[in-house]
Amino acid sequence: MDFRLTDDQEALRAGMRQLLDRHFGPTALRHAADPLAHHAPNAELTRLWAELGAAGLFSLRADESAGGVGLGLPEAVLVFEETGRALLPGPLVATHLAGSWGLVPGAAEGRVVVTAMDAGRPSPDVTSPPGGTAPDGMLVEHLEAADAVLVVGDGEVRLLETTGSDLAGAVKDGEQAGSPPAAAAAPAPVPVRSVDPLSPLHRVVARPASDSRPVAGDQEEGPGARRGQRSGDGVGQEPGDGPEERLPTVAGRGKWLPAVDVPGKWLPTGDADVLRREAGVLTAAQQLGSARRTLEMAVGYAREREQFGRPIGTFQAVQHLCAGMLVRAQTARSAVYAAAVTQESEEAYAAKLLADEAATSNARDCLQVFGGMGFTWEAEVHLHLKRAWLRAEQWGTSAAAEERLAAALL
């Protein structure tokens, strides 16, 4: 047993940090976040993707025989930790999964951008509120830039094509509760003004519940699909939801492609859970990277900033805030790395839960250390907080993780 990083792992991490410094350093971040800079985020993402693809970020875990790097989840976690640290934008986790699992041609090389939807439901024995889905629909990041959407459902993985497809036309906010859109004219995804300026979001608007059942039948289904089950334990069952009762489902006019039709590896039933778990661990790794970065920033600022004639880092109140951030980051680190090594479900939930908490709380504490300066747009810290909020909603919320972890005790 040696939990420490191997020399190779250390080198991999250092290499990734250098790469990101070059391709998405502080200046690029500031430019990307500048609300007044008229840039073309989709074009920039495409360029970035090619660079990341060339560096192997998306093919990291694909077999060497398939042109991949042949590394494991622990290595991926180290690399994703760096992306979180750099606040690298884009659907990195989805494209990495698509590339490393060989689900979408071109993903491994960064030639296509793949985003994802977590369309899975918590297991039936979990009585808590739905994790990751809202009655109003699901939010998907970077949909406009994406060539394909990985839909990770219950026991199945589907692929939704967006290239040149009907998903392009966006309509206005579909939240007119009184007039549910007719099935024939199911609304296309609706752009949402994202709290994170670097992560554009679309709401994939829900269909009315009465319209949902046909989905199971009128679409081509992969083996092991259990979509019909959703109406039995899904959002629609929540009391008090009466007239607005809706099921989250992809309602764009794009067609559903079961994974089996897609070139590359076909995903049998059980693998949707694996994919979702890996996505959770990689997202946790990004949160960890962010938590460690905001700690660094807070410490750096506390050393330099003077108030009352001395560096604020000499005040215990500031010192102990920083120490608390360190404790959160290192505890999350132990959970995230262990989840990557063991690939166990319980560890993965613990990793996501603790990394979400580390990222959001550290960003808030960093903001507190920065004081008024942290409240300006120019300070990087708010971007970490917003991204941390976003990631906390992706691939399993804290509430869902706590329920799973509680159930695991019995």
Partner: protein, 389 residues
Amino acid sequence: MDLTCTPEEEEFRARLRTWLARELPTLPPRPDPLDWPARRAYDMDWQRRLHEAGYAGLHWPEDAGGQDATPTQHLIFLEETEAAGAPYVGAGFVGLLHAGPTIAAEGTAEQRARWLPPILSGDQVWCQGFSEPDAGSDLASLRTRAVRDGDHYVVTGSKIWTSHAEVADWCELLVRTDPEAPRHRGITWLALPMDAPGVTVRPLRTLAGSTEFAEVFLDEVRVPVTHRVGEENDGWRVTMVTLSFERGTAFVGEVVACRRTLRLLAKRARKTGRWDDAVLRRRLGRLNAEFTALWRLIQWNVSEAAHGLRHGGTGVPAEGASVFKLRYSHARQELYDVAAAVLGPDALDLTREWTRERLSSLSYTIAAGTSQIQHTILAERVLGLPKGR
């Protein structure tokens, strides 16, 4: 322990309600939040109406043109206007709550006659130039210099966190006139005309993406010595006098609004089904206790302030103010964290009001004395613990 209002206070409340019911429907539509001149016009229109109805400068002394109302009346005024959905003080804030009271207390007869009436009538807008990038929590370390040149001060430096700077007529400015004196002893209070040559205003974008604050750059701006309130180098004391005008009423409107938000959150959660999440529901219940107590804390502080004023004191004691600020800052942040839990993924939608409020609530533990500084104030000044080193 009397929480009932006197007949006079009840009459005041009834009269105000009647007036609000008549006046509010005649208001123009709210302006675009990014259109500063329109916002100034809207806020000043409201101030003019208050002035005509006899509600302007409610808490100002009578000899300054105010109503000399008791803190309780002021509390009632703020409670009722917020409950009725009346406009907030807006662009009138600094004039009515900071600069005005300072001039009323420390200004010469001429200065009072010149500056106070237009504040009350809604004709002139003031902004505040206290904070500097390097003087945040430690305000007294401010470095904006003012050098005497005949009957003028020549002012150079920069100020930050100035709201309404774009549309203000005047700025209450703290400058350093004696760099050799101990920190608090070399500061002077000046009234700066915002149209003076050398004044540059640059909007400051906050993390919420909005630009309600600005930076003000001062490049050899000439301010007549007659614009000085109080003595040269006595500006710190002059400013503290203003601050002591606080009568525990500063957050009345906000707490009324938070309690309304809390009820809306509960209803929204019920509607979306998230009410069935006991963790969320009980957080809402706890916040109900929290804001109930905060409301009572306001009443306690107002009672203390009223008592103090009746006996020649000034405003609310440090204890009440710091206790309230610490607890309220935290409760407000928790309120909007809970709002995010109610919204779920939709909390990521920046067009949601609760999401924007969540972002702006982040400043509450920082602005006007960080939570860390409030704790130290309580420990050393109220509890009498020995001074930290």
